[in-house]
């Protein structure tokens, strides 16, 4: 027990702490050039800490790996972060502190709230390109957020990919019916209106819309509503675990043969680990290959090797880890393209470099070449839980939205 507490303490190091600065070692040849700083407001504590510790590990390990490869065009990379507790004011303070004492071309934002709050300052500074934990649809509005991007599909695009999959599941020419279940938060509501419009466009009927409080709540009344409309599919959004388990278990107890799907943050292995056999058949949209998927590729192999090297006891790495790694990968590509074009590392030049990404091979992190559209990577795949094997398995091809 004591050892376990120590281990957890070590992994959660930084919780409630002041600042943490991590400088990954770089080969001697890269030391004489000015370091490139990856900044980050990271939620190591607070409500998003379950993902924050893994995002942080992904960013840390990528930094270590890229330095072992000689840095970016010979520049070593330095990762500078602070714990924010997932609070917007602390994230803003961390941003100001880190950018005040470093030249920071790229920065990790921990929430949609922070990224929206900091947008006007980011726009007026013109020095930093930002991405982060958010897949919010609003952030892909290039007019308002020209220097922010999404490291995957935004939530509306995730719904689009899910609906594309559902449309292929109709029988005898009938389109399946769907219900949307989402939390009463900005995060939960994000894709709902666009999702309904997309469903209508595709001829999929949305037979029910359920809003719940986030977190620990009883949802038996909401489940009774779903029993009356008997949807073929329920799509969850705005949750990590609960109340997805209750919907699945109770609806199955009622004898319904509804299938259940979710978006990025509700499609990690946590669902399998906590729900066990009850998770069987649950499907999620995921833009990246899972850490334990059968897929491979040079970058995915490098990620696995680096993860193993940095913490051999950690085992499976959650999707947050891969998300952190992929963010840093995109930053590297953008910085490299900007430098190769002989341009300064300004937000505008880097945003142009980002927009120039077409058919980019991510080395197996994403299974097909990807292109940036409206500051996002609108690609994903539907994966289904095989509870017996305790893993997600792909049930669709990669879907790249136009």
């Amino acid at each position: 027990m004591f050892k376990s507490i120590l281990n957890k303490g070590r992994r959660l190091a930084g919780i409630g702490s002041i600042a943490a600065v991590l400088v990954a070692s770089a080969p001697a040849m890269a030391q004489d050039k000015e370091p490139i700083v990856f900044g980050g407001s990271i939620p190591l504590s607070g409500v998003f800490a379950f993902a924050g510790v893994h995002l942080h590990a992904g960013l840390t390990d990528y930094t270590s790996w890229i330095n072992s490869q000689g840095g970016i065009n010979g520049h070593p990379v330095k990762y500078v972060m602070e714990d924010t507790g997932y609070e917007v004011d602390r994230s803003v303070a961390a941003f100001k502190k880190i950018t005040g004492s470093n030249k920071v071309p790229v920065y990790y934002g921990d929430s949609t709230g922070f990224m929206k709050t900091i947008a006007s300052e980011l726009n007026s500074r013109g020095t930093t390109l930002m991405s982060g934990a958010s897949f919010a649809t609003a952030l892909t509005d290039n007019e308002q957020y020209p220097y922010q991007f999404i490291p995957g599909p935004n939530y509306t695009q995730m719904f689009g990919i899910i609906l594309e999959y559902i449309a292929t599941q109709g029988k005898d020419g009938d389109m399946p019916t769907v219900a949307f279940v989402y939390s009463d938060t900005e995060f939960g509501k994000d894709p709902i209106e666009n999702g309904k419009a997309k469903a209508a466009e595709m001829g999929i009927e949305v037979v029910e819309e359920i809003v719940t409080k986030p977190g620990s709540v009883d949802v038996s009344a909401e489940i009774l509503k779903l029993r009356r409309v008997r949807p073929d599919f329920v799509v969850f959004h705005g949750y990590v675990l609960s109340p997805i388990n209750e919907f699945m278990v109770q609806m199955r107890q009622m004898g319904l043969d509804t299938q259940f799907m979710g978006t990025f943050w509700s499609s990690d292995k946590l669902i399998i680990n906590k729900m066990g056999a009850d998770a069987d058949g649950y499907m999620g949209v995921m833009p990246y290959n899972y850490y334990d998927s059968a897929e491979g590729g040079p970058m995915l192999d490098a990620l696995r090797a680096e993860a193993e090297k940095s913490d051999p006891d950690a085992g499976y790495r959650p999707t947050g880890y891969i998300q952190g790694w992929f963010n840093a990968m995109v930053w590297t590509e953008v910085i490299k393209r900007t430098m190769d074009a002989g341009k300064e590392l300004t937000a505008e030049n880097m945003a142009d470099s980002l927009a120039s990404i077409k058919d980019w091979d991510t080395g197996g992190i994403i299974g097909i070449p990807v292109s940036v559209q409206d500051m996002s990577f609108p690609v994903g795949r539907i994966w289904r839980v095989n509870a017996k094997e305790a893993r997600y398995e792909p049930v669709s091809d990669w879907i790249h939205l136009d």
């Binding site: 507490i5 957890k8 303490g9 959660l12 919780i15 409630g16 504590s45 409500v47 800490a49 379950f50 924050g52 510790v53 009463d184 819309e209 359920i210 809003v211 719940t212 409080k213 977190g215 620990s216 709540v217 009883d218 949802v219 038996s220 009344a221 909401e222 489940i223 009774l224 509503k225 029993r227 009356r228 990590v240 675990l241 609960s242 109340p243 388990n245 209750e246 278990v249 109770q250 107890q253 009622m254 946590l270 906590k274 729900m275």
Partner: protein
């Protein structure tokens, strides 16, 4: 109108309200005896639920052994908090004591993150999974059995406060501390017992609510939402906590079902606002009670 649906929704709401009543009881017992509004009650619930997770999950004990152990652990925690952190505050302003309970809540959240990590958790299943039907009306089994367990404790409490020496001492202290002291009642012990009993009720509710809705270090927030229950019922009224708990649980569920989930909280807060205007001391509270 679909009366079957209304009946099912109402049943679910009443059952959930029973758990709210149990948490409300935890608030009221402590307030009634000590005049302390315990803002850490949600975190005590959370702590007991994590203990259950450790006993039934990590240590693979039978859930029926793990449950009383976890509840006992939560109640001991309440007693220790009273003795080490609340008692030294005797005589200080009530706002200072409230701030201490808020500080305790933060400490418990940090402790839970350190001991169990930040990942959301599900408790090992221990309640029957077979659907419950009352006539034609369906009731989710976790809610139904959770309500029965909670109701059993409520009955034990009511009998204890009515007939036992400890219960009489607690009621006497609540109505007049000086008189109770002069009659030889150990008031300090009563204070401690009230924290133990209040935390015990909250701990049982914590395990039952977590069994339904999952567990995370943010679980304690539910304690604050139940504050509405005790303000509506009256901060010092056990009957008030029971009636208001059941009513608020029913109202929240019916509002959620007919108006949408986003109207659950506005519906309960609308009731709270009306009560505060017309009966600022709550439906069953005594007139001296101040607004929170």
């Amino acid at each position: 109108m679909d009366w079957l649906f209304f009946g099912e929704i109402s049943l679910a709401g009443l059952a959930m309200g029973g758990l709210y009543a149990l948490i409300g009881l935890g608030f009221v017992i402590i307030y009634k005896a000590t005049r302390v509004i315990n803002f850490a009650i949600g975190e005590i619930m959370m702590f007991a639920a994590y203990l259950f997770l450790t006993f039934a999950g990590g240590m693979e004990m039978s859930p029926w052994i793990a449950l009383p152990l976890a509840v006992l652990g939560g109640s001991i925690l309440g007693g220790v908090i009273e003795k080490t952190m609340i008692r030294p505050m005797l005589g200080e302003s009530s706002i200072s004591v409230v701030m201490v309970t808020i500080g305790i809540a933060s400490i418990l959240v940090g402790l839970v993150e350190l001991l169990w990590g930040a990942d959301p958790q599900l408790l090992p299943g221990f309640l029957p999974r077979k659907p419950v039907f009352i006539g034609e009306m369906y009731l989710a089994p976790k809610i139904a059995y959770g309500f029965l367990i909670g109701a059993a404790l409520l009955i034990v409490y009511l009998l204890y406060f009515r007939f036992s020496r400890g219960g009489v001492a607690l009621r006497a202290t609540a109505s007049d501390q000086a008189a109770a002291y002069s009659m030889g009642i150990n008031v300090r012990r009563v204070f401690n017992l009230s924290w133990v009993f209040g935390s015990l009720a909250a701990s049982l509710a914590g395990v039952l609510v977590a069994a339904t809705g999952g567990l995370s270090p943010q679980f304690g927030a539910i304690g604050l939402s139940v504050l509405v229950v005790v303000i509506v019922g009256g901060l010092d009224s056990i009957v008030g906590a029971l009636v208001a708990g059941i009513f608020i649980g029913w109202l929240e569920t019916v509002a959620g079902a007919y108006l949408g989930g986003e109207y659950r909280m506005p519906a309960t807060f609308a009731v709270l606002a009306v009560i505060l205007i017309f009966r600022p001391y709550g439906l069953f509270g005594t007139h001296e009670i101040e607004r929170v």
